[in-house]
Amino acid sequence: MTVTAVTKDLNELTMTVDAEFDVPVDRAWQLWGDPRQLERWWGPPTHPATMVQHDLTSGGTVTYYMTGPEGERFHGWWRVTQADAPRLLVVEDGFADENGQPNPDLPVTIMRVSLDDRPGGGTAVTITSTFASLEAMEQLISMGMEEGLRQAMAQMDAILAA
């Protein structure tokens, strides 16, 4: 299993990751299709994901939250726009408020996953992320700064409390 290529297109605002897995397509699909498996790779180890709703059919919804080291929760959602298990999955991927309701003010990314048989065995996976606009990317950046600064503030509080 390896990442074989990463293609970034600044004009189209897309990033494509190609990877190869040494398992059949049906098994690789379970990385998305089984919520317990999805939980184990979606968030970083410091922020594991917990799936709340998980309906990977066309028109279905996935809701989840990631739990930070201090127990804080970051909520997110997917809207499934296309699903053809075990070959294709297209979702809109966005942020939610603390009640899990989609936050319309935050940028939405489109994630497209396709899985194909490799000649000689295994699965080729292509994951493409598409940003709605440069403004949406900019907004992500400015939010990143804001959130990062909040973290920096929490660190300062910890230092002052010591």
Partner: protein
């Protein structure tokens, strides 16, 4: 998201962080940044969106300018505010950060697939 945040913070010097923190600690200033990143606005345009005087808006813009988040340009008698041009280059940086997020995810997928599977004994 969390990964990007940490990386963004790591790339900023402490003094910059202080200035940015102060600049972005205010909801009006965050809103101004979002507006001018999408396109240039005059101070009077901006002032229409907030229940405050033009002088107050000017002060907010000055704080943002000090933090390097916006720049002011004179057009005749009018001052216009735009998002930092360099901010556009951060699109590339965001894509770079996103690349790392997905490389880490694929690593975790690989580790998961390498585990012994619990097959149904049917």
């Amino acid at each position: 998201m969390i990964n990007y945040n940490q990386m963004v913070v790591d790339q900023l010097a402490d003094a910059d962080v202080d200035r940015l923190f102060h600049a972005l600690a205010d909801a009006t200033r965050r809103d101004i940044v979002r507006r001018v990143v999408a396109g240039e606005h005059s101070i009077s345009d901006l002032a229409r969106h907030y229940p405050m005087s033009m002088t107050a808006v000017q002060k907010h813009v000055a704080v943002l300018e000090g933090a390097g988040l916006v720049s002011k340009n004179r057009h005749g008698r009018e001052q216009r505010v735009s998002g930092r041009v360099e901010a556009l280059h951060e699109a590339q940086r965001l894509l770079d950060m996103l690349e790392q997020v997905w490389r880490d995810r694929v690593d975790r997928m690989g580790a998961l697939l390498a585990e012994p599977t619990l097959e149904d004994p049917t």
